[in-house]
């Protein structure tokens, strides 16, 4: 921001995050397995996956909070093992749980961060950031007394304050209302337009679709990555959308039939998906003539793809 940090580093590599074979175990359990990823500079990279899939651990490895058991790579061109200090100075990390000081006011928290990064005018920087994140009038309020949405804005403000080149956001919008979520994403896009690279983990499909690229991680394995369209195409999933009344019986009958891998209700419709197109069609053939329902071949949604990926990874890694 303020002139754009990338402009100060003309020879910066075009890849912000480049890691290979990251592995990390806690107490004998492998949380991240052989994970490799590349994130282009200036892009918004969505990090998706079920709870406990290793998203937070990966993010912590990237910003030097955890040391990988094996694997290597660079973050902003700095080695993640050796140059943790340099990375920390250039990366803003927003933790999943609010981790600023609850017993400090908005202004005091921001001034603390500004001073810690050695910014020359900490008060001024904090004042500007308060205006930017729309917390004017709440400067003196203790962080503990802020609502979830305001806390999240403050946390984002704190991690963008020292003009980082890379933002690591760990489920930043969990438990935040839709309006605040939308504002938040507008802010993220504005930051990316200024040249910031953003890696953001989330559970929300609509947020995934706001990312330039996404990666899906489950049980420590990176299962799919690319743009949203690429990920959907790569899934090779066939989906039929059923509309009509009374799905309950249909759901129960279809579930577990050979060729049907997934049956999921979406509001007033039902998504029936399978990895083998022919087998799926054979499975649903007996129901297609029933006038109660209307069948239509459709594109799988991102959610279908992810639930399918999650189901498959459960088979592979837990079964």
């Amino acid at each position: 921001m303020n002139g754009g940090p990338t402009s100060t580093q003309p020879n910066a590599p075009s890849i912000a995050i480049d890691v290979k074979g990251l592995t990390k175990s806690f107490g004998g359990r492998e949380v991240v397995h052989d994970l490799s990823m590349q994130v282009k500079r200036g892009s918004i990279y969505g990090f998706l996956g079920p709870n406990g899939s290793g998203k937070t651990t990966t993010i912590r490895i990237l910003c030097g909070l955890l040391t990988p058991d094996s694997g290597e790579g660079t973050c902003l061109g700095y080695d993640i093992r050796r140059d943790a200090d340099k990375i920390k100075r250039r990366v803003g990390y927003m933790t999943q749980r609010f981790s600023l000081y609850q017993d400090l006011s908005v202004r005091e928290n921001l001034e603390f961060v500004a001073r810690l990064y050695g910014m020359p005018d900490a008060r001024g920087a904090a004042r500007d950031m308060i205006a930017r994140i729309g917390l004017k009038g709440r400067e003196e309020q203790l962080a503990a007394n802020l609502s979830g949405g305001w806390k999240q804005r403050l946390a984002l403000g704190a991690c963008t304050l020292p003009n980082p080149q890379l933002l690591l956001l760990d489920e930043p919008t969990a438990g935040v209302d839709p309006k605040a979520r939308r504002d938040f994403w507008n802010e993220i896009h504005a930051l990316a337009a200024e040249g910031l690279t953003v890696l953001v983990s989330t559970h929300y499909m609509d947020e995934a679709e706001r990312c330039h690229e996404i990666a899906y991680i489950a049980y420590g394995h990176l299962l799919a990555h690319g743009t949203v369209d690429e990920v959907i195409a790569a899934s090779a999933l066939s989906t039929w959308t059923v509309t009509g009344d009374d799905f309950n019986g249909l759901m129960a009958e279809l579930t577990g039939k050979p060729g049907v891998d997934m049956v999921a209700p979406f509001g007033t419709s039902l998504h029936v998906s399978g990895r083998d197109k022919a087998a799926l069609e054979a499975a649903i053939a007996p129901y297609r003539d029933n006038s109660k329902w209307h069948w239509q071949a459709s594109e799988p949604s991102l959610e279908d793809v992810f639930i399918d990926l999650m189901g498959r990874s459960t088979d592979n890694f837990q079964g």
């Binding site: 955890l66 040391t67 200090d85 981790s99 600023l100 990064y117």
Partner: protein
């Protein structure tokens, strides 16, 4: 009516012995948690065992072998016999023999000895002439307990010993008089001893706890994750956490010393500046130790326990409550490792004896060494990652 009754009882029937079952469940859970928390478990065992053995053996209110200096201005048989008789009482242990009054005073003022015996020139001749000369015994009475029992035993014991050894005469008519001089605290007023020591004790307790909780608090509140993701070094975290409390400690110390002077009439014979300077050093040492605890333990409860474990020996083995010289040697070694021991000596020496820096070099260096040691441990122990 009957039907609803049976329905209700079958739906939510209170299990038999419900209270005991739930209490038992709770008890089992607590035991499991306790077993998992190895540090607390170890302390539950260690604390009483250690303290009982430590303090049971170490504390002795009728101390023996107190370090004593001798100022001999004549070398005679009678003088030697008297000294021998004194040493035989086991209260006195002659560590130094000096020949000038200045040396004699310096030893007492710096706390290297607790007693001084002066055999004046012409003592033996005066005894033979029947002049009843005075044998001067000077005691450092800043600690009345240490001085008291030895002084009390002195008269009769020496008298009996001499009567037996030299056949000078029967105890009722001693050929010389023992003149005991309780220096620095002539009235043996224990407040004069307690108040300066309390300055150190109170500071130890408050300072330790301030910093002992500091790192674990960050971890427990989750703020450590943010802090570690920012470019800050362990030494910086440490100084940032210690320095505010140096000021707090200084205010506290000023308050205690002011109360000591105004309410208890404790004098400050030495330099106030020196007292302030060394008190600040002592505060910083304690804060460093508390901070070190904070980097070792895993939660705030452990931090409190560790602080208490440090605090109790500080009170009991530092010479604050019980005479240091009366403790066995191994307990004295432990005492030397506690900052309070050195500060109690410093603060008593400055306030009650008017000691200057050159009398306090050893204790000052010891405090600096303890502080640097604690800081080094803290900085190396501080975990820079969440691994």
């Amino acid at each position: 009516m009957n039907a609803t009754d049976t329905m209700q009882t079958s739906e939510a029937r209170e299990p038999r012995f419900g209270f005991w079952r739930r209490s038992y469940a709770m008890l089992v859970k607590e035991f499991i948690q306790l077993r998992r928390d190895r540090v607390s478990f170890a302390m539950i065992i260690m604390l009483p065992v250690m303290q009982l053995t430590l303090f049971g053996y170490a504390i002795n209110t009728t101390p023996r072998n107190l370090p004593t200096a001798v100022l001999t201005q004549e070398d005679t048989d009678l003088g030697r016999s008297i000294l021998k008789a004194m040493e035989n009482t086991a209260y006195f242990h002659f560590v130094r023999e000096v020949h000038t009054v200045e040396e004699f005073d310096e030893l007492l003022q710096s706390g290297k000895v607790l007693f001084g015996v002066e055999i004046p020139r012409g003592f033996e001749r005066a005894v033979r002439r029947g002049d009843k000369p005075a044998l001067l015994v000077a005691a450092d009475a800043t600690d009345p307990v240490a001085a008291g029992s030895a002084l009390g035993a002195l008269g009769p014991l020496v008298q009996t010993a001499l009567a037996h050894d030299l056949h000078i005469g029967d105890p009722p008519d001693m050929p010389f008089e023992i003149r005991a001089h309780a220096r620095y605290n002539p009235a043996a007023d224990s407040r004069l001893n307690i108040v300066p020591g309390l300055v150190g004790t109170i500071l130890t307790m408050t300072m330790l706890i301030f910093t002992a909780l500091s790192v674990t608090r960050e971890i427990e509140r989750g703020t450590m994750e943010s802090l570690l993701s920012m470019p800050i070094k362990p030494v910086e975290v440490m100084f940032g956490k210690i320095i505010p409390y140096v000021l707090v400690g200084f205010i506290q110390a000023t308050l205690i010393i002011a109360i000591g002077i105004l309410l208890f009439g404790v004098p400050v014979l030495g330099s106030l500046t020196l007292l302030a300077l060394l008190t600040t050093l002592f505060i910083t040492t304690n804060l460093s130790i508390g901070y070190t605890f904070s980097t070792i333990v895993q939660n705030q409860l452990q931090a409190m326990q560790l602080s208490m474990m440090f605090f109790l020996p500080s009170i009991l083995l530092s010479g604050f409550m019980f005479p240091f010289a009366g403790m066995p040697v191994w307990a004295q070694y432990i005492g030397e490792g506690l900052p309070l021991t050195h500060f109690v000596r410093i603060v008593r020496a400055i306030m009650l004896k008017g000691a200057a820096m050159q009398n306090l070099q050893y204790d000052t260096i010891a405090l600096v060494a303890l502080m640097l040691f604690a800081m080094t441990v803290a900085v190396t122990r501080f975990r820079r990652t969440l691994d």
